[in-house]
Point group: D2
Chain length 366, copies 4
């Protein structure tokens, strides 16, 4: 598979380019019997929709989703679910300079070398709009997980040097500010910093964090398909992500075993951990604690300053990028991170359903 | 697949438990015509072998590999390559306490919940010995890559707070010290720190870095199978890894676009980047620069201090771990990181071979 | 994957129900640089289109295909190709009896047991219209194969007891009769037989054969992914197929080695076989001879006679099926068989491109 | 995957050549908690063991299996099960003529073209011994299925023109004759025919049939992973198989709908079919009736008559094959067919476990 297919049991196939006729996803393997409406999916898509505040592009897409298959009388049938968003806003324009040059920090050069040519319109397949299919599928996965008592919450943990401290996180605030930060004061500081950088025609980096609760113990496969390994691929596959951390992440390097180990204790009949340095996984399997994953996003590569680069014809030039570009990626990627985590957890949870004979007997012998 | 199979074209299936009869790997899809001997593989296995210095366990395994199939007259035949290392050192001992208790920082509890019971001998499938199969396969992948001009070099970048600075890295020193650090002075400081922690019956964290050079432009698939995403899964799937960074990694959060973008220029007829903040990938495809990946390893969970935990019978206890345990994971994992990177790069390089019609014509019409 | 995804490198994901909003396919892994237009695909879809003669349903679908992604400036880009056919003809009608009863020879009962309920409109996912996605993808695969000198030709070999003899096959006649038989006289006899059975409100069985020429030697993987094994899955996965034969097929049971073996000889510098009992494969790999595969289709299960069956409520009833149903499946399935063979051959041909080091060197070192 | 890996959840990876050091299989995804011993597997291997009667080769292999991983305290642990059979009988001999020539009906020529060279010893990877891994895995799959009330029985249905009639099948007789036919009279006639052909230095074709009972309704995925399609790939992937039939198989071509449809009726509370022309599948899903599959095996290609062929150097020669070769393939393949069916049914049964939300709730919410 050439990399637009993800998941083994809950399998997601995305398609579409930024300025093509549309974008979408086909979900194969969604369990039958889930109540699903276009509204369920639209809510997620609207979270990534552009043009909602001064920090996002002015492009006004309706980004309305249609369910073309796999749902009957309001419930999933178990057959493939095809979700499509048609592109409304395809103003024909001159792509000349982008078509013939390689934007720094973008994949233009790699596409030409790999495929021989590329769809240069708005970044083609590498556009942020590619995530529409991921988010539509994530909305479905989250709906299934919710039926099993599993919830996911993502937010912008840091913008530039402004980071929300562990004890300052208030999940209720995430949707109270346009930057989806779990702290309104930090969000205000970040907004000021963003304005400053926008005036300088520059862009900034950010960090997105996702908390997953309610995952039963044992989800994830030892060895290659560890829950954290699969989450790492899933979230690192989002454009502009340069680092993935689980639990304490990079901080473990300077930690010691006696601090880093999470001691077990009994909470009534339930095994629990006194701390959660592990971020909810042990040996690649969920350990019953909240699963904590962080992604570091590079600054938006499209900036409005003059930049040195080269052309397809291998001439050195100075180029200035025009058009619509967010000065930061994280806030709009919050729902994408949440979606990729939902798809991954559901996929591994479905696989885990066949881990022992008792489970098969529960389904086939009762 | 229940997670012991990795790769789509160069497919690696590992098997074996710490104290079972043996461990090994089957490689399916290795191209035919590669010169391959048991020595080629033994060299890699010896790099992860225990008992080589005071910082590694005293277990004396020969860890001698046998090639059971897929090689004829010294060359790979294109059929599956089965590599086996039999366990020599299985001293029967009393596993009672480990069998009945959940070691903090280990997967014991998760295994019991997932499968109903577990092979508790030496960590079973979650033992560091599981990596024998990975390293054996990595040796083969590295041999294929070498034929294509691609090389991989991994080393211990940091131990605790002792980190080798960018300008202090000397790859010639990596094999001059038992900690595989690219700087002998740092290695000496780290050794002193390790001794101190061992006296305190504690363990320490570490960071391993891998540089991959010679990868042609365009390797890696846009969207889910990005080169960096697949490397993230591959390396995060190594036990005890809690973070993966590509290029500048987490530092991109506090960076700005005008600094983070790598400008293109012409070096003769070749497109090059003036800097390599991206770590050798753009849009998930190799960009021709060295690929740089870092992994953060948590401190060894097995420490000799008394720790609070619970039993299978859900009683709270204080346990003391006995036996042989390294105080640090990174140095012995250096070759494992290198191996997982080699397998991943080869797998995606093989997939990339069919990316355009011209390639197929070059093979089938010439 | 829940079975709507096929292929490993040229990967096809189909979706859609008979009376849903539409049907389609996403192709992931199509090589870049292939000239592709909607006309290329429409030609294939029109071959399976209903309402073209008295032996096919009266349903008048335009079945017009749209390319929504993966093609830019007339050529495939290497990114996913999304092909959609919207359903025009969804006359709302009373499905009461079909909704509540299990049609003999249909999957109604199995769907209810597997998923808990089903989309009963026109057979839902099990409708013949499901093949629209297969044929659209097959058209693309055939276009790629044509660039490599590979052609596929399918036709109706037999209808009821009327079978075209080996020496009576004239491929020029295939498109000269509405039953796609390679012999107009047989086609006339078959048409008479069909009329007779239609008057009796009955249906008939048929056999479809496909010849594939120009496949280079060595395509197909030893063991599980043999070329013939993969073709068997691909063609058996078409609704109503009950048998697959390669070369001499079932006749080998009563043959002897000295007759069945195909002797090799030299035709100039080329190794050839004097006979082709093997049907173009040896040990699961293409042997350079034409590949010959046959599929046996059961009679259309929807007949207009009264039939005994049961309801969802488990009551025995006599049901009479109404509506539009072909009295035979083979002729309209000719293009579906051809499509599944094209997808399979291309998928294995792409995989074979990495079979030996020399091939990789030809792509990466030249 | 280069074709030595089969299955999506119960995944089987086979390896080994006829005259290499050994052969084996790794099973990934076997549910935990199954009682499993080497004896369980040896019983299956012994059924395919050569040297048991005058119709099989004189090669005396012990073919003793060892379980190297995945079983602890007599039960499967859920981790990979590695099964190995070492080759005892590797008498060094002169393979000169086979090494330099292409045997008619064998894959020698295709291997050379695909990989550039081949392991010519005893057919290498294409030897019948390759099935050792399949049968070892099949024994494990059958043990799991037995726990769920599913049984498989295969036998030789026909040898040459001697076919056991439907009403003459007595499953009790299958193990009463060396040809594994379900009728001792037919077996005696077949033995006489075999003797006659052996005197003529010739070989004969055969047909193997497998009956699977107890499969719950709904196993198998609509579209590409239909139960019958996957069985077709699995059984067609066995060397020398040229045709696969489900239920009435090729006979459906000359049948009519009113005869071919199986009418439903109520047997108490259970939905049943009055006939089983479908062979236990409808729309690619199990329908509750016994699953019936037939495979046609070509005559053994290795015969002792002089045959025309060519050399690697492209010279035409007359060759005479020496050594040990069965005059018929079917009887020894009976257990191989049974094994491939067991692996396939279990794999799809595990996948079906996640088909609906109710199943997931039964596992995760109870």
């Amino acid at each position: 598979m050439a990399g637009s297919i993800y998941g083994k049991l809950f399998t997601v196939t995305t398609w579409g380019e930024s300025h093509g006729k549309g974008l979408g996803v086909v979900i194969d393997g969604c369990p039958a019997g889930i109540a699903l409406s276009e509204e369920d999916i639209q809510i997620y898509l609207d979270r990534r929709k552009p043009g909602q505040n001064k920090f996002t592009t002015k492009r006004n897409e309706g980004d309305k989703v249609s369910i073309l298959s796999g749902v009957f009388e309001g419930k999933t049938t178990g057959t493939p679910i095809s979700l499509v968003v048609m592109n409304e806003d395809q103003k024909s324009k001159d792509y000349g300079s982008i078509a013939e040059s390689y934007r720094p920090g973008h994949a233009d050069y790699c596409f030409d070398e790999k495929y021989g040519f590329r769809d240069y319109r708005g970044g083609g397949r590498s556009s942020g709009r590619e995530t529409i299919g991921r988010v539509a599928a994530g909305a479905v996965a989250a709906k299934v997980l919710k039926e099993l008592g599993i919830t996911l919450t993502a937010y912008t943990r840091a913008i530039g040097t402004i980071k929300v401290a562990d004890d300052a996180i208030d999940l209720n605030m995430v949707n109270q500010n346009p930057l989806y930060m779990p702290n309104n004061t930090c969000a205000a500081d970040a907004a000021a910093y963003l304005n400053e950088m926008m005036e300088k025609k520059d862009s900034v980096g950010s960090m997105v964090e996702c908390i997953i609760t309610g995952v039963p113990v044992g989800v994830g496969e030892p060895v290659f398909d560890k829950l954290d390994a699969r989450l790492a691929q899933a979230v690192m596959s989002i454009g502009a992500v340069k680092a993935i951390e689980i639990g304490d992440g990079t901080a473990v390097v300077s930690s010691i075993g006696s601090d880093n180990n999470d001691n077990f204790y009994m909470d009534g009949d339930t095994v629990k951990k006194r701390t959660n340095h592990s971020g909810g996984t042990l040996g690649g399997m969920s350990d019953g604690s909240p699963i904590l994953i962080r992604a570091s996003f590079k600054p938006t590569p499209s900036i409005f300053q003059a930049q040195d680069t080269v052309t397809r014809a291998h001439e050195e030039i100075v180029m200035e990028i025009k058009g619509r570009h967010d000065p930061i990626i994280g806030p709009r990627a919050v729902v994408v991170v949440e979606s990729m985590c939902a798809i991954t957890v559901l996929d591994l949870l479905m696989q885990n359903a066949t881990a022992k004979l008792d489970n098969l007997k529960r389904i086939y012998r009762s």
